[in-house]
């Protein structure tokens, strides 16, 4: 079976096939054609079988120059895999007279999976003709079969370099707005005499937190993807920070202005959503191949977190929301809601009675009893 090239082990060595010993083609007259181009002189590559590692990188490439091609752990195969979960003769790729390719599974316990479709020992499956690549799993080996006739995916642009320079300015802008926001919030929290000290502390804390957070994510990215993606993580962090800063002010302002206490009661849901979104984008830089999975994981996490918080609120305060009452007060001009007459306000108190009477009849939960010990200020 001289039709199969022995592969070079790393992906970069795939070109080694070009130097494989090839017989000269003899023409009809029996004369040697001396000046054929290199590509036409070697025997045509029918397919490429790539061995993929856990991170999606190609670890090994085999070129297939003729059918059938046998794959397994035994040394008499055309393609020899070292995975112990692969049978000695795991499967064979064959071609019929019409040129249709098929995968015939040999004597194996684990079988073969093509995409999500599993094929047991002894069975066979036709391979699609026009797919760019066919994913095959044999044992624990992830294989990708590229056929010569299949269309080639277009070239990917070098995302990093070109786009990076374009994004520096917006990133810088976001960073400055964020710092200004932090400075403003420490202005609000400080007295005139203590402002200069507090703002320094706040900015220093913000910068250190950014460096630590983004540094940790970059380290994780580097460990897994071999690229740090620091600027990506930084951008995610800054946008999330800015959104959270806005979320800390806007619901309170609207709740005051329109007298909508529920807005701040449940604004934690938006905070959770922002946190989950930021987490998704951080994770995307670590596992870029599975955005759908990450979206599911993060969305599930957010929903579970929100549900647990609501449940915990009910346990802690007998109410679903976070705040017992709306406590955000702003300058008088920002109030839009009209004040009520005292009579109406007092009359609207009535529904509390039934609610309280119902709660008074409920036995306290064990958790409440434990928590209540500290709150008791009587005696």
């Amino acid at each position: 079976m001289g039709e199969i090239e022995l592969p070079g082990s790393p992906a970069d060595d795939a070109d080694a096939t070009a130097v494989a010993p090839l017989p000269l083609r003899i023409d009809a007259e029996g004369a040697v054609e001396p000046t054929a181009p290199v590509a036409s002189r070697r025997r045509a590559t029918r397919a490429l079988l790539e061995v993929i590692d856990r991170d999606g990188h190609v670890r090994q490439v085999w070129t297939v120059q003729g059918w059938p091609a046998r794959v397994g752990r035994a040394l008499d195969n055309d393609i020899v895999l070292t995975d112990p979960h692969v049978a000695p003769h795991h499967f064979t790729l064959t071609q019929d007279e019409q040129g249709q390719l098929a995968l015939v599974v040999g004597d194996t316990v684990n079988g073969v999976a093509i995409g999500l479709h599993r094929i047991a020992a002894g069975a066979s499956s036709l391979l699609p003709r026009d797919a760019a690549a066919v994913d095959v799993v044999a044992g624990r080996s992830r294989l990708r079969l590229r056929l010569a006739d299949a269309p080639v995916a277009p070239e990917l642009p070098l995302a990093g370099v070109a786009v990076h320079t374009l994004r520096i300015l917006p990133s810088l802008g976001i960073g400055l707005v964020l710092l200004a926001g932090i400075a403003f919030s420490s202005y609000l929290d400080s007295d005139p005499d203590t402002f200069s000290r507090l703002v320094g502390q706040a900015l220093l804390a913000a910068l250190s937190a950014t460096a630590l957070w983004c540094g940790a994510w970059a380290l994780l990215s580097k460990t897994i993807t071999r690229q740090s993606h620091f600027s990506w993580h930084l951008r995610v962090f800054m946008v999330a920070g800015l959104t959270l800063l806005a979320l800390s002010a806007i619901p309170g302002l609207l709740a005051f202005s329109l007298s909508w206490p529920w807005l701040t009661d449940f604004s934690f849901i938006a905070t959770y959503a922002v946190g989950a979104t930021a987490l998704y984008f951080h994770l995307l830089a670590i596992e870029p191949a599975r955005p759908r999975l990450l979206r599911w994981v993060v969305a599930t996490g957010a929903v579970v977190g929100i549900a647990l918080t609501l449940w915990f609120n009910v346990q802690r305060t007998s109410r679903v929301g976070e705040e017992l009452y709306m406590s955000h007060l702003f300058p008088p001009k920002l109030r839009l809601a009209q004040p009520l007459a005292t009579d109406r306000f007092i009359a609207e108190l009535a529904p509390l009675r039934a609610l309280l009477d119902k709660k008074a009849k409920e036995a306290p939960s064990a958790e409440e009893l434990g928590a209540g010990k500290d709150d008791d200020d009587d005696e």
Binding site: D191, I346, L356
Partner: protein, 453 residues
């Protein structure tokens, strides 16, 4: 010398009692020594420096005086001790409600017994309670076929005059029966229910014991003392015990936990308190710009303070008003009204900073009073309220009592919203009111805000 030796003995039993005894002779008070010495047995009393009348009073009252113990059912160990005294030949005993509250409210866990000065111990039954004046009428369960020496009450028509000597008897800290000499100082000012101000030392364990005049007649019942003062103690006037005895003399013993009695009496209390509070109106001129609710000093006391900021920030002036009277209700006390307000000036802060600080102060409020065993979590109602053009943010939060049906705690928060760099925030707390009275009090409080006239 004798005192010191007695103390050395007492240390091993009750360290707290000893320090109290040692401390008293050091003070230049006439009755420190008698309290300590009279705690000893009668033989000791002979050689101690007891004034003649204190000795006479104690000797006369000795057989009428009892210690009242609350004992854990089936365990025999005592959970609390107090004092009491016989008021009838049939074996009626008067003491404080707070001495018997565990037995009254959790009879399934507690038994009551009395112990006489000569060590005789017998069970007790509760006949009637006067929770508002902190009194209880008991009866010796072994009364059948037995006659008791009883103390007589001083006639109401013959009031004491201030400075007269009176003698308070009881069993302080379970050390032994004692007589504490002190003075009658009239009725406590600003109490909701009248109490006698006794210028003498009362200790835990003496609660429920009688206070006697020179002739050995009951003028009051020991009930409380101020821990932040010296010899500032309180007695329940004897007239309430007389009424309790008259109404409960032949009442059947309480068969079940007394929460219904407690609730009925607290209902009456809250009705009277709400009426008096609303009828008394408000003080005038309490703020240069607004009308701010501050009650007159009838049964409440207000303290004010001013806190200018040291860091160029918010200047605050406070007023805190509270009642001295609280009704003891077993595991907690109830039946009071308190209110306060803070006046903020943030002209050096600017509107945004002021708003942040003003919000923080509005948020920084406590709402948990009792453990969930006794009370629900608060539920609130809130909105903007208009007071003749003065916009307010008002929040009303209420909690219900679990064992006192139809009684609620009320908290009203108010913040004025007409200025961008100044304002007033107020809070009213009313504990143990009916829902209707909570609504009345809320209205009364919110309507007290307005523009200064």
């Amino acid at each position: 010398m004798k005192l010191v030796r007695r103390c050395a003995v007492a240390v091993s039993v009750l360290a707290l009692g000893c320090t109290a005894v040692v401390a008293q002779p050091a003070r230049p008070t006439p009755n420190g020594a008698p309290v300590a010495a009279a705690a000893a047995a009668a033989a000791d009393a002979a050689s101690a420096p007891v004034s003649f009348s204190a000795r006479k009073v104690y000797e006369q009252a000795r057989t009428q005086l009892v210690q009242i113990r609350t004992v854990l059912k089936g365990r025999g160990s005592q959970t609390s001790v107090g004092s009491g005294f016989f008021v009838s030949a049939e074996g009626h005993i008067v003491t404080n409600f707070h001495v018997v509250s565990q037995a009254a409210l959790k009879p399934e866990y507690h038994d009551l017994v009395y112990v006489t000065a000569d060590g005789r111990e017998a069970p007790l039954q509760i006949l009637q309670l006067d929770v508002l004046h902190d009194l209880a009428l008991l009866k010796a369960a072994d009364a059948a076929g037995r006659g008791f020496d009883a103390l007589a009450f001083r006639a109401e028509a013959r009031p004491l005059s201030q400075g007269e000597r009176i003698y308070s008897l009881g069993n302080p800290l379970d050390v032994g029966f004692a007589v504490a000499e002190g003075t009658y100082n009239g009725v406590v000012r600003r109490g909701f229910y009248p109490q006698i101000f006794f210028g003498g030392a009362l200790s835990a364990g003496m609660s429920g014991g009688p206070a006697l005049d020179q002739e050995g007649r009951v003028v009051g019942i020991n009930v409380a003392r101020r821990v932040d003062g010296e010899q500032v103690s309180f007695l329940v006037p004897a007239s309430y015990a007389v009424k309790l005895l008259a109404s409960g003399r032949s009442a059947p013993p309480l068969a079940t936990a007394a929460y219904d009695v407690l609730t009925t009496q607290l209902m009456a209390h809250q009705a009277a308190l709400a009426d008096r509070f609303i009828d008394q109106g408000w003080k005038s001129a309490t703020h240069p710009r607004y009308q701010v609710p501050v009650p007159p000093d009838v049964f409440m006391r207000c303290w004010g303070s001013s806190e200018p900021s040291r860091t160029g920030g918010l200047d605050v002036e406070r007023s805190d008003c509270a009642m001295d009277t609280r009704i003891f209700a077993g595991d907690f006390s109830i039946g009071t009204i308190a209110l306060r307000h803070e006046s903020y000036d943030g002209s050096r802060l600017g509107p945004l900073r002021f708003a942040a600080r003003y919000s923080q102060s509005f948020r920084n409020e406590r709402f948990v009073r009792l453990s969930p065993e006794f009370q629900t979590k608060p539920q609130c109602h809130e909105d903007f309220v208009d007071r003749a053009g003065l916009p307010l943010r008002a929040v009303i939060c209420m909690r219900a009592y679990k064992k006192l049906p139809q009684l609620y705690d009320l908290t009203v928060l108010v913040a004025t919203l007409d200025q961008s760099q100044a304002g007033v925030q107020g809070r009213l707390d009313a504990e143990g009111f009916s829902f209707e009275n909570a609504q009345r009090l809320s209205r009364h409080y919110i309507e007290a805000y307005g523009w200064a006239k």
